[in-house]
């Protein structure tokens, strides 16, 4: 089991520094999680550390492809507003 970084990532290094397993690797066009090394932080922390610090909604997903930080969860911008601005589809894509 492992989390995954998708192309919404802005390469900010935050997750690299907090991962207890050094599972995040610098890569282009965006950072990646080494699925051999990632434990989803089980046994180390109550929350997956990368997802607890990542500033970008949707950048980190689980094995089902579901974002750990869904749209609106970090910015507090209401879903209706995101929809109205046409930002919802892009974030969720």
């Amino acid at each position: 089991m492992a989390l995954q970084i998708v192309d919404l990532c802005v390469n900010c290094w935050a997750c690299v520094d907090v991962c207890p397993n050094q599972a995040v690797v610098e890569d282009v066009p965006h950072f990646l999680i080494n699925e051999q090394a990632c434990t989803e932080c089980l046994g180390d922390h109550a929350e997956a550390q990368c997802a607890a610090i990542c500033p970008i909604e949707g950048a980190i997903v689980n094995e089902l492809g579901e974002p750990l930080n869904p749209p609106g969860s970090l910015t507090g911008i209401p879903l209706d507003k995101l929809r109205e601005l046409g930002l919802l589809d892009r974030e969720a894509a």
Binding site: V10, N11, C12, W13, A14, V16, D17, V18, H45, A46, E47, Q49, A52, I53, P55, I56, L74, T75, G76, I77, K81, L85, L87
Partner: protein, 502 residues
């Protein structure tokens, strides 16, 4: 090696010396000599040093540990010194190479700052590695950093070790209820915390860090972003609190929130303060402590004198081709610095006398006037259409003082006529409207040159364009115009057009 054009008439008390911009004696009056000594050649902290000394920032700190509602990590941050994570990020070794190259090319360079693009103290290894190498290789360069304060207390020892004598903390509130409207979350002790609890922890850490730094004699400046309806009233309280804890300067900056920045405030249409609102708040807070009116909110990778950015000359590929004698460069810096300090001292010494004579002939009950100046290197040197910011000065019978600066979009996009379209395809007309709005309250705009088209519209809006003082030191020019207005009998009555400009 060419030095930038600076005022060359210290004996006349010209340039920035007469007051305002040269009011470092006022703004810094409450400081002990030891602190004044420290900031006298710091371009960001000393109001007149900013014309003489250069600073640069390096972007080595990408990660952040909090979210601010005026920030979107995907884009350059307009509010704080943050270029956005997509700008050229440097590893510590690259950053050190860049700093040494810049310091060899621009010998007025005195200050190296780390401000982002994230939070320097959320990237302690990268930040302190950069500082460690620089203390070693260029001990004459002052180091400073800006932080949100969340992890400041645990890093104070390290900061003291690297002899970083300037730290800027961004403090937008001391009340967690208000903080919860500014900070949606923080990353704290391996968890993402939200709401009032998160804000309470952030505030506690900021205040504790502030106290720890000042008790060790490390200078602390406080930055605040003025967010109308959220913390504008509250910032007066913040100003009192941080002054009591020993901060030496409080810098109140306007919120910049545009929908295209993709920030919470931008998308939720949170209004930014008008120039008048900002000035009023700065005046109120200024009663309590030194305010920094010349701050340009420069980018975290800015290079050069305040208000200019020569970063493009020092990209990584250009650095690779530079051949630098570091020892000789340090020697040159030493000489240039001594020379500039002498000039500054001469100006400061000459200032009080100049102020008295400067306003001879202007009746003491004349009303004050705001003037905007398209300045470059301390003189009225910029064409109206090329100005990205205007300095706003208040002239009164007491002298001239810098009230702030107003950023604008470039009116002229390089087309010879300066008439039809502005930057980014926006019609110049609407940019001119924005500029006129940004200059509201000003009665004159001084510039090196101005086109026919904007001239007429400015005049119609009650702002008199003035190109007659091109290349004169800024404060001399403002004083001269004030005198002309006085001679023309324009200073007796209250300005009737003053408040009508929309």
């Amino acid at each position: 090696m060419e030095l930038p054009v600076i005022s060359n008439a210290p004996s006349s008390g010209g340039g920035c010396s007469s007051s305002g911009c040269g009011s470092s004696s006022d703004a810094m009056a409450h400081l002990p000599d030891s602190i004044r000594q420290k900031v006298q050649d710091h371009p960001c902290y000393s109001e007149d040093a900013h014309h003489y000394f250069a600073r640069m920032h390096v972007a080595v700190a990408p990660a952040c540990n909090i979210q601010c509602n005026y920030c979107n990590r995907k884009y350059d941050c307009a509010n704080e010194s943050r270029p956005g994570v997509v700008s050229e990020l440097l590893h510590p070794d690259q950053a050190v190479t860049k700093v040494l190259a810049v310091a060899a090319t621009i010998p007025q360079m005195t200050v190296l700052g780390i401000a982002g693009p994230g939070d320097p103290l959320a990237n302690p290894a990268r930040t302190f590695e950069t500082f460690r190498q620089l203390s070693d290789k260029a001990p004459d360069i002052k180091l400073c950093l800006s932080t949100n304060g969340l992890t400041l207390p645990e890093h104070v020892d390290e900061i003291a070790k690297h002899n970083i004598d300037h730290v800027t903390i961004t403090i937008n509130c001391v009340d967690p209820e208000i903080g919860a409207q500014i900070y949606p979350w923080i990353y704290w002790q391996n968890r993402r915390l939200r709401g009032v609890e998160a804000a309470r922890i952030l505030i506690e850490q900021q205040q504790k860090g502030l106290e720890m730094l000042t008790s060790r004699g490390i200078l602390v400046k406080v930055n605040s972003v003025m967010i109308p309806g959220v913390n504008d009233e509250h910032l007066k309280e913040v100003s009192k609190v941080v002054k009591a804890k020993g901060a030496f300067l409080h810098n109140v900056m306007p919120l910049i929130a545009e929908a295209e920045h993709g920030t919470y405030y931008g998308l939720m249409e949170q209004p930014s303060p008008t120039p008048e609102q900002l000035q009023a708040l700065q005046d109120e807070c200024g009663g309590d402590m030194a305010m920094m009116r010349h701050c340009r909110q420069c980018r975290a990778d800015a290079v050069g004198l305040l208000g200019e950015d020569r970063g493009a000359e020092f990209t990584l590929d250009k650095l690779a081709d530079m051949d630098i004698d570091y020892e000789a460069a340090m020697q040159t810096r030493q000489e240039v610095r001594e020379n500039l300090l002498e000039q500054l001292a001469a100006k400061r010494a000459g200032a009080p006398a100049a102020e008295v004579t400067a306003l001879a002939g202007v009746p003491a009950d004349s009303r004050p006037v705001l003037m905007a100046v398209a300045a470059k290197n301390g003189v009225v040197g910029e064409h109206f259409g090329h100005a990205r910011e205007f300095l706003v000065y208040e002239a009164s019978p007491k002298g001239v003082r810098l009230m702030g600066h107003r950023k604008v979009d470039l009116y002229c996009n390089g087309a010879t006529d300066c008439g039809d379209s502005g930057e980014g395809g926006q019609p110049a007309g609407s940019i001119l409207d924005q500029i006129i709005h940004a200059l509201s309250g000003c009665e004159q705009v001084l510039c090196a040159r101005i086109g026919f088209e904007p001239w007429g519209q400015l005049e119609a809006a009650g702002i008199q364009p003035n190109g007659e003082h091109a290349m004169e030191p800024v404060e001399d020019a403002v004083l001269a115009v004030y005198r002309e207005m006085s001679a023309a009998g324009k200073l007796a009555a209250p300005a009737d057009k003053l408040n009508k400009v929309a």
